[in-house]
């Protein structure tokens, strides 16, 4: 039910003939000045409220099922490898294993495919309990330098990785310095899988944020070595792993795209992954995971949206049923305020 006020009353109240001749614009201005612009206001009667809740339920529940199904269609294989990849003898002292460069870091993981996975299959690595959103970390970069290279000198924000041995670092800053450096190769049984490492970064980043003529310079030459080294022959705009890493994550655990498998995987296939387990997450009890996932029209596997729709939809229906029962038990005609007499006159 709606209450409509405005246009009709204002015409009645402006008795002079000239007001009818006014143009529409000045009529609107007149209505604005007299606070009589046409308006409608929903009146929350029990019937309308019950109807709205019921409708909401009927619309939301199917949407919920639909999105949940889409999310379930995406198939995901997740494998935490940071613990398993440490040899037995170092299990008690993980830190010395990871910091000792002389120990070989390679490790093999076997991922069993349960269901048919259609290409492209996205490969992500996931870090947990990693503060890429720490203020000291987020701020420690120079976007201008990433675009313009050595020409740009105001890189004080990059502290403490601004320069080493008296020379500026390109790319500077903690983010670049701590780049993820585990690598993965994929094979099915014994044949290598076709993996594409191109087009994993945002197009806008490649074209506008990272310079085509900016080459790494004096990078990872300091006393303290952080993460990955960069090939100083390739411009930053082509180093897509680096570009992906530089987009700092907002949350504590995050996934970053590593590449795409461009072959379908059949059920009961076993994917053999060769991991170079270089990156140190052991000092702060972080976790490293490898994920293979297909995508549906809604993206990757994520049940949250579907469940939310279902919860909201079903609670709407429950509320509408409660309201309906209450209304049937104590009906009150529209406009009857006898129940409220006391508080009004008080």
């Amino acid at each position: 039910m709606m209450e409509v006020e405005g246009s009709s009353t204002s015409m009645n109240r402006a008795p002079d003939q000239s007001s009818f001749l006014r143009s529409r614009r000045s009529k609107a201005l007149y209505q604005f000045k007299q606070q009589k612009l046409p308006a409608c206001k929903p009146v929350l009667t029990p019937t309308s409220v019950i109807t709205v809740f019921l409708l909401m339920g009927f619309v939301f529940i199917p949407i919920g099922f639909l999105t949940l199904r889409a999310s379930r269609d995406a198939i995901e294989i997740m494998d935490r490898y940071d613990v398993e990849c440490i040899p037995e003898e170092y299990k008690s002292n993980k830190l010395s294993y990871i910091t000792d460069a002389s120990i070989p870091k390679n490790c093999t993981r076997y991922l069993k495919v349960q269901k048919y996975m259609k290409a492209p299959i996205y490969i992500y690595y996931q870090l947990d309990n990693y503060y890429q959103n720490h203020r000291r970390y987020v701020k420690s970069r120079s976007d201008q330098q990433l675009l313009h290279g050595l020409e740009y000198r105001h890189t004080s924000a990059c502290e403490p990785e601004e320069s080493s041995n008296g020379l500026p670092i390109v790319p500077c800053g903690l983010i670049a310095w701590s780049m993820f450096n585990d690598t993965f190769t994929f094979a099915r049984e014994s044949t290598k899988l076709k993996v594409s490492r191109k087009n994993i970064a945002w197009k806008s980043d490649r074209e506008h944020k990272f310079g085509k003529n900016v080459y790494p310079y004096n990078f990872q030459n300091g006393t303290l070595i952080g993460g990955a080294k960069l090939d100083s022959k390739i411009p930053l705009s082509d180093q897509e792993d680096f570009i992906v890493w530089m987009r700092a994550a907002a949350l504590l655990s995050f996934r970053k795209l590593y590449g795409r498998i461009e072959e379908d995987l059949e059920p009961r296939n076993v994917v053999v992954v060769n991991v170079m387990n270089n990156y140190n997450t052991y000092s702060f009890s972080g976790q490293k995971k490898l994920i293979l996932s297909t995508s549906s029209w809604l993206g990757g596997r994520n049940d949250f949206l579907g469940i939310t729709y279902l919860v909201v939809g079903s609670s709407s229906i429950i509320i509408s049923i409660i309201f309906m029962l209450l209304h049937l038990k104590n009906p009150r005609p529209y406009g009857d305020n006898s129940w409220n007499k006391k508080s009004l006159s008080g």
Partner: protein, 889 residues
């Protein structure tokens, strides 16, 4: 302190060295920026934002780009500064216009044309008809042989009638040529703002030697911004110039009023500030602890082992900056904007235009609209506010005979007409007093009709009634009055006018009948100030009864009296009167005392009864507003019975048995205290009964009550929903407002005349009725409306909507700021309590300034209920009065 003004003497006056430059400006070109900035920074909120903006310049702690605070801050400052600059520029322009106006002055005997700003104290200024007076002048000569001129003082006090001004007696008969060379000295008080008093003396130097010191009053002056009317020319010597004139001194920037809502918003801001400090401290400590325990393990963050001394402060300061958006920076600007619009809505409202005169409502104060929706007490004047102030002579009682009854006016009463034709002495004397005991000026229009220019509506009504009863006041020529009665012209010479003051409550004239040479005292005034002075033999009982009778009908009464004076008595008195008139100190009191000596042994002729009709819609308005929970007090200078009758007829109080009137009276302290206690007791007993109890108090008792029993009276004021205070003075009206305000009530004072100005200025909201008594009240008021009944719309529609909208807007402002701030706070728990901002600078600024500020301004056209339903159920105002929309307590 006195000032000596030497007429026409440049050297002697130079020491007073104040030229006639008027300046209303707050700033000059040079001090604008520092002064305006200083003013803006004296507000706590601005200081706070400045501190935040400065802290943001330190890149170590700023979570966002400094521009996100500096931008809005500079924008907000620029907006307020340009508003001030704009206002000041307009003041400058109007000053310039007034200052550069060309005027004629006399210097060394020669007439010169100069700019108004160059007038010096002591210069002789010449004015032509319809000229504006450039500074305060003492009149020296006019084109009129009697030395009279007429001025319109509308710009000064809002009264549109013409006032007579007369040259001092010492200047009478001075030749036009000699005026140029006049020398003398005027001894006048230092500048003040009292536009009704000018107690000065003048002495002329040879060759105009005059032995007497000639006394000067306000009657001898032409004040700045009056207009010269009906007079060919006039000249005067300037005594006060520039900003020292009476007008200049009374000007002043009124203290800005703060609404209940503003106070609440300030309190909320304070509370949020405290909350913010707590959050900052908690997060700051947590951040430092986390840094020392966890962050060192995160190798990629590279926390240094060594840290400067301020290291401990860095994280708390970062959180302070992060949380600074908790206090919305845009609230002030958005509120100013919407408040300006509320005021415009009031001015635009076609339903609040007085059809009769075409005056629209006007909101002089744009900042307090939402207070209208929170009014709890309305203090109203009676005459001109509840009533029309259109006085009509209805009845009279002459010599114990009542003329006029329910069926018709006295004017049509055959009995009275017969008495006039038959020439009954009492009746003719009665009519004579009606016609000439006043300060009315008859103006002959071109068509030959006589139009009366009167300062008071009562006098106007009496003169018109007398004319209709064949006693026509035809002309006034200086001191000579012409009366035409039944074809005969009778001439009187006015010897003295004993003026009306609110203390004396009567006025008299002493006239001389030019034919018989008899000197007569004619008096008219309120009953209590005339009847005690009746001559010994006369029975005043019938007169008193007549007064009561008329008062019960709601009519205004005046007693008319008469006495023939002996020549000697008059001469003797006249000397004393002159003496009193030239006193500089306490002149008013001295004159009153001298007048008293003449006004005795009066022969009471009778009583006039004048009707002052209620304005239309008054009872309905009062009833509706009362239903809305607003209490009414009536404060009037009129007498008790009249006030009660008017109160009954406009629903102000209910008649017995539904209502009950409790009287507080007494002449002594004991009487008043006893009466007050009794009333208080009754009030307490009946508080639970559904009965309309009102108390009535008169000015005398009120003064005692306020002096000795203030606490009891305050208790009474809290208990009583209705009160009638009669015979109260303007300052008592203001005191009553003060008392209600001290009990934390929101008060609205409404009035129309000069006597309501103080009450209007004192109240939280002052409403003036732009009525017949001039514009004085409307000028002082925050809102001026044409009729009393518009008050209903002003409060229930405009006040209520404004309150709701402002409440919504301020709640929303706080809500959106807290919302985004809480996101930042929660994010800090998953970002290592390091003070990272989840949003980038541009988004943050756009959120505050764009996305959440501009769209929400649409709420100024939101209406929660239709106007009709608010009018139908005024009880809905309770929610606003209790302030429930802003804080749901």
């Amino acid at each position: 302190m006195k000032r000596f003004v030497y007429i026409n003497d440049d050297e002697a006056s130079n020491e007073l060295c104040c030229d006639n430059r008027i300046s209303n400006r707050k700033y000059t070109l040079w001090n604008f920026l520092p002064k305006n900035l200083w003013e803006q920074f004296s507000r706590f909120m601005n200081q706070y934002f400045l501190l935040i903006a400065c802290l943001q310049l330190w890149s170590l702690i700023t979570p966002v780009n400094p521009a996100s605070t500096w931008g809005p801050l500079i924008f907000i400052f620029a907006v307020s500064a340009s508003k001030e600059a704009w206002d000041d520029y307009h003041r400058y322009l109007s000053d310039k216009k007034a200052n550069e106006k060309e005027v004629w002055i006399v210097k060394q005997g020669i007439k010169k044309h100069i700019q108004a700003q160059d007038i010096q104290v002591g210069n002789i200024v010449w004015l032509r008809e319809n000229d504006e007076v450039p500074c305060d002048l003492v009149l020296l000569g006019t084109s009129d042989p009697q030395g009279v001129c007429y001025v319109e003082t509308a710009a000064l006090d809002g009264e549109t009638d013409l006032k007579t001004r007369i040259i001092p007696s010492a200047c009478v008969g001075i030749d036009l040529e000699l005026l140029h060379k006049m020398k003398g000295v005027i001894e006048c008080p230092i500048p003040d703002k009292d536009i009704r008093r000018f107690d000065a003396n003048m002495r002329l130097f040879p060759p105009f030697i005059d032995n007497d010191v000639c006394s000067l009053t306000i009657k001898n002056t032409l004040l700045q911004s009056c207009y010269l009317r009906n007079t060919e020319w006039a000249c005067g010597v300037s005594v006060y110039t520039g900003n020292q004139t009476k007008l200049g001194m009374s000007r002043g920037i009124a203290e800005p009023k703060l609404t209940a809502m503003d106070a609440m918003i300030d309190k909320l801001t304070g509370a949020i500030f405290v909350f913010q400090i707590v959050v900052v401290m908690v997060l700051g400590i947590a951040g430092n602890v986390w840094k020392d325990t966890e962050a060192r393990k995160q190798w990629y963050v590279q926390y240094p082992e060594e840290a400067p001394w301020y290291e401990l402060l860095v994280i708390p300061l970062r959180f302070e900056l992060l949380c600074s958006i908790m206090i919305p920076i845009s609230i002030k600007v958005s509120l100013d904007l919407v408040k300006g619009l509320y005021a415009k809505f009031i001015e635009w409202d076609v339903e609040m235009i007085d059809q009769e005169t075409g005056t629209a409502s006007y909101a002089a104060n744009t900042a307090i609209s939402e207070d209208l929706g929170q009014v709890e007490y309305i203090l109203t004047d009676k005459t001109g506010t509840l009533t029309d102030n259109k006085m009509i002579f209805r009845r009279c009682c002459i010599g114990g005979i009542f003329y006029g009854n329910e069926n018709g006016d006295a004017l049509k009463d055959a009995q009275l007409l017969n008495a006039i034709t038959s020439g009954s002495t009492d009746v003719i004397r009665f009519l004579t007093v009606m016609a000439i005991c006043n300060t009315v000026i008859p103006v002959q229009s071109k068509a030959g009709d006589i139009v009366y220019k009167a300062q008071s509506q009562d006098e106007d009504a009496l003169v018109i009634a007398a004319a209709k009863l064949h006693m026509v006041f035809v002309g006034k020529n200086a001191n000579l009055l012409d009366i035409r009665f039944n074809g005969l012209t009778i001439r009187y010479e006015v010897l003295e006018i004993l003026e009306f003051t609110s203390d004396r409550k009567r006025m008299s004239v002493v006239v001389k009948d030019c034919q018989s040479g008899k000197i007569i005292l004619l008096s008219k005034g309120a009953d209590e100030s005339i009847l005690p002075y009746a001559c010994a033999g006369q029975q005043t009982r019938t007169i008193a009864e007549a007064v009561d009778h008329y008062a019960q009908l709601g009519l205004r009464t005046l007693c008319l009296a008469w006495r023939e004076l002996e020549e000697d008595e008059y001469q003797e008195w006249s000397v004393k009167f002159k003496e009193a008139s030239s006193v500089l100190v306490d002149r008013e009191w001295r004159i009153a005392e001298v007048c008293q000596r003449l006004e005795h042994d009066l022969y009471i002729l009778g009583v006039t009864a004048i009707e002052d009709r209620l304005q239309d819609g008054v009872p309905e308005t009062i009833e509706t507003l009362r239903k809305a929970g607003i209490n009414f007090w009536m404060l009037t200078g009129d007498k008790q019975n009249t006030a009660i009758q008017i109160a009954l007829s406009c629903n102000f109080i209910s008649p017995e048995p539904k209502g009950q009137l409790l009287l507080i009276d007494g002449k002594t302290e004991d009487d008043v205290s006893r009466s007050l206690e009794r009333v208080l007791l009754t009030m307490r007993i009946t508080a639970s009964e559904p009965k309309d109890v009102a108390f009535v108090i008169d000015g005398w008792a009120l003064e005692i009550a306020l002096k000795h029993h203030r606490k009891d009276f305050v208790d009474l004021a809290i208990l009583s929903r209705t009160a009638i205070c009669c015979r109260v003075t303007p300052s008592q009206k203001a005191q009553l407002v003060e008392i209600l305000k001290s009990c934390d009530y929101r008060t609205l004072a409404i009035g129309d005349g000069g006597n309501d100005v103080r009450m209007i200025q004192q109240a939280d909201i002052g409403v003036g009725i732009s009525g017949r008594e001039g514009l004085q009240a409307a000028r002082a008021a925050d809102y001026s409306i044409g009729r009393f009944r518009f008050l209903k719309r002003l409060i229930l529609v405009h006040g209520r909507y404004s309150y709701n909208r402002t409440a919504f807007l301020s709640q929303y402002s706080f809500y959106k700021s807290l919302l985004i701030c809480f996101i930042q706070i929660f994010f800090s728990f998953i970002s290592g309590v390091s003070g990272t901002s989840l949003f980038n600078s541009v988004s943050l600024m756009a959120y505050n300034v764009f996305y959440t500020s501009i769209p929400v301004l649409v709420s100024v056209i939101d209406k929660d209920l239709s106007e009709a339903s608010v009018m139908q159920h005024p009880q809905i105002l309770f929610y606003c009065q209790a302030g429930r929309r802003l804080l749901y307590l």
